[in-house]
């Protein structure tokens, strides 16, 4: 960790890559990719973070213990997101027989749907 000295060219190359990726992020923001908007932006962000951790933070040249601890931190991050998602992804699976809005309510990320103007049952049949 302390012993390794990277050549300046490495730092310039990484800096260049980060700049390019930033430009790509900005560029992509102007193109509507539909459902892919979010995943693409996140992928670029993760790529940039990985470059910073490996080269600027010297993890690439560190002992295996340092790598293990870095990896461990990400493992626990995955636990946080993954196990929380066991709730959010499966909430809609279960619908109570009585049709109550209790445990089976689907939760959507984003603004809630507009309430219907009038209940369907209330409309007179033509």
């Amino acid at each position: 960790m302390a012993g390794h000295i990277s050549p300046k060219s490495t730092y310039y190359a990484i800096f260049g890559s980060l700049m390019v990726l930033t430009a790509v992020t900005v560029g992509v923001a102007f193109i509507n990719l539909g459902v892919l908007n979010f995943p693409v932006a996140l992928t670029i962000a993760v790529l940039k973070a990985t470059l910073v951790i490996l080269f600027f933070m010297h993890v690439k040249y560190s002992s295996r213990l340092t790598k293990l601890i870095c990896g461990g931190a990400f493992f626990f991050l995955i636990l946080l997101f993954g196990l929380t998602m066991t709730d959010y992804l499966s909430r809609g699976w279960f619908v109570s027989p009585g049709g109550t809005a209790a445990a089976g309510t689907q939760v959507t990320v984003g603004p809630p749907p507009e309430p219907a103007a009038a209940p369907a049952e209330a409309r007179p049949e033509p």
Partner: protein
């Protein structure tokens, strides 16, 4: 007792000025600084608890208003969880013992160690300010949406206090982890380390990995409350249950920050006072790590009735049962350590027996709450209150006092009265059970927590509980008095009054500022009592 004179220069008398304490980098002095603040917080938390128990002696709300009652139990929780239970064993006993136990002169980063105390004090002052300006009424869990949109108490100030204090915990964890990796004396291999050190290592892991999440969560709460971000507000696409997920991702592992170090203390004390090595050393060591890791996988058992997916709840229920396994491994191994041991009835051991009984009840009632169906009945009742007090007071605080009594001769160089300490342990044990066992029944019968009035038929059990709390208070006051008395009038302890094996006992009491005259060289395991006793005979 081998010697009766105190070492001429020790860490206590090497310098006397206030500055020498406030700017010390000696881990032993920093431990005492922590002891001071934690004791103040424990006293404050006790006062709030007394308010709660006085109110609950009668079914009507005649002592305090509903609003004041909310503030009382909230501030009791905040003071006790963040400023007593989390720092008590790691920051006081861990700080004092860890470098001594591995044969080091200090922790790896002494300045960061001092910084962690200052950060802790600043966090405590913020929380204290919040208490003085009228307190906070959200419960120590700060659940949304009440905390973000309804409560008009000092949520922000308390949140900032908790946020800051978290960094103290992270710094301590980091420091301990590096110390254990880098500072062990020659010959102190991983499997010769005392189990207390293993427990501190596992705790550090949790402190480093989980604490940032509470900081982020409290930060989000502040953004939501001040600027209406909408992370937890369904009207803006957020979800209030998300707060509970994030909060418990820290706060459930935090239970293991509270209980793992006392478990380490129990291993030390039980070996010493049974004059035997701990049964299944490596199992006990690895069970600490297993608890630390499994502890991260169970948080949503706090959310079973909050509207989470039933499928997710099943996963978390199963995992919660799984985390009981390593705890059970420890309990069985401690019991097996007692078997055919030469049990020495000294005060620290009495505390350990208290721990074993109470932790067992606390752990097993946890399984009740991890069962999906039963939890619907018991959630947010006094059953839950009783359960976690059996873990946190019956487990963590009993373990803390076991450790404090065990290492007190090392810390101060003085012996306390063994009979007074035994009496205090018995008082606390009886008082504790009288306080909290009736609460199991109350909860089972359906008395909800966090209400200042209750149905008339619950009064007898509540009066029992309040009476027990008074006994508990007397027990704690007794501990304070004979420990302080021992500092001035106690007999000199000598280097090793318990004839224990740990490295910390091979140096003077109180230790010299540099801990050891020469760096010790370790040639045997941590608990070679049998070998030693045979040699003595």
């Amino acid at each position: 007792m081998t010697t009766t004179i105190l070492p001429r220069v020790n860490y206590l008398n090497v310098r006397h000025s206030v500055g020498s304490w406030l700017f010390t980098k000696d881990h032993k002095r920093i431990a005492l600084l922590y002891l001071g603040v934690v004791t103040v917080a424990f006293f404050l938390g006790g006062i709030f608890a007394a308010g709660v128990r006085i109110e609950l002696t009668t079914p009507e709300g005649d002592f305090v208003s509903a609003d004041t009652y909310n503030r009382l139990f909230t501030m009791h929780g905040i003071a006790m969880v963040f400023f007593v239970l989390i720092p008590a064993v790691p920051a006081i006993l861990g700080n004092f013992v860890l470098p001594l136990a591995i044969g080091a002169k200090d922790v790896a980063f002494p300045k960061i160690n001092l910084l962690s105390w200052y950060v802790f004090v600043i966090g405590f002052l913020f929380t204290l300010a919040a208490m003085m300006f009228g307190g906070v009424d959200t419960g120590w869990t700060f659940y949304t949406p009440y905390s973000t949109s309804a409560s008009n108490s000092n949520v922000m100030l308390t949140g900032i206090g908790v946020f800051i204090t978290g960094f103290s915990s992270i710094l301590t964890g980091l420091n301990f982890m590096v110390t254990i990796h880098r500072m062990r004396a020659p010959g102190m291999t991983w499997f010769r380390m005392p189990l207390f050190v293993w427990a501190l290592y596992a705790t550090s892991l949790v402190q480093i990995l989980a604490t940032p999440v509470i900081a982020i969560t409290v930060g989000m709460l502040a953004l939501e409350r001040a600027l209406g971000f909408g992370i937890f507000d369904p009207r803006l696409g957020g979800d209030p249950v998300l707060f509970q997920h994030l909060f418990w991702f820290y706060s459930h592992p935090a239970v293991y920050i509270m209980i793992l170090p006392p478990m380490g203390v129990i291993s030390e004390v039980i070996a010493c006072f049974s004059r035997k090595p701990v049964f299944g050393y490596s199992f006990v060591a690895f069970s600490s790590l297993a608890i630390a890791v499994f502890g991260f996988l169970v948080w949503a058992h706090h959310l079973f009735v909050a509207g989470i997916s039933p499928y997710s709840a099943m996963v978390f229920s199963f995992l919660s049962f799984a985390v009981a396994v390593p705890s059970a491994v420890k309990t069985f191994n401690w019991t097996a350590t007692l078997y055919k041991g030469a049990i020495w009835w000294q005060a620290p051991m009495i505390w350990v027996f208290g721990f074993l009984g109470l932790f067992l009840v606390g752990g097993l009632t946890g399984l009740f709450l991890a069962s999906l169906g039963l939890d619907v009945h018991l959630h947010d009742t006094y059953f839950v209150v009783a359960h976690f007090h059996y873990i946190m007071v019956g487990g963590a605080i009993m373990g803390y006092f076991a450790g404090l009594h065990y290492w007190w001769p090392k810390i101060t160089g003085k012996m306390y009265s063994n009979s007074a300490a035994t009496l205090a342990a018995l008082l606390v044990f009886v008082g504790f059970n009288l306080t909290f066992f009736p609460q199991f029944i109350l909860g089972y019968l359906g008395m909800p927590r966090r209400y200042h009035v209750y149905a008339d038929e619950f009064q007898v059990l509540n009066v029992m509980s309040s009476a027990g709390a008074s006994l508990l208070g007397i027990g704690y006051a007794l501990i304070g008095s004979y420990l302080v008395y021992s500092i001035f009038r106690g007999k000199a302890a000598g280097a090793n009054p318990w004839r224990a094996t740990g490295l910390e006992w091979q140096t003077e009491s109180p230790p010299i500022p540099e801990n050891f005259v020469e760096t010790p060289i370790v040639t045997e395991g941590a608990y070679e009592y049998v070998k030693r006793e045979t040699k003595v005979a």
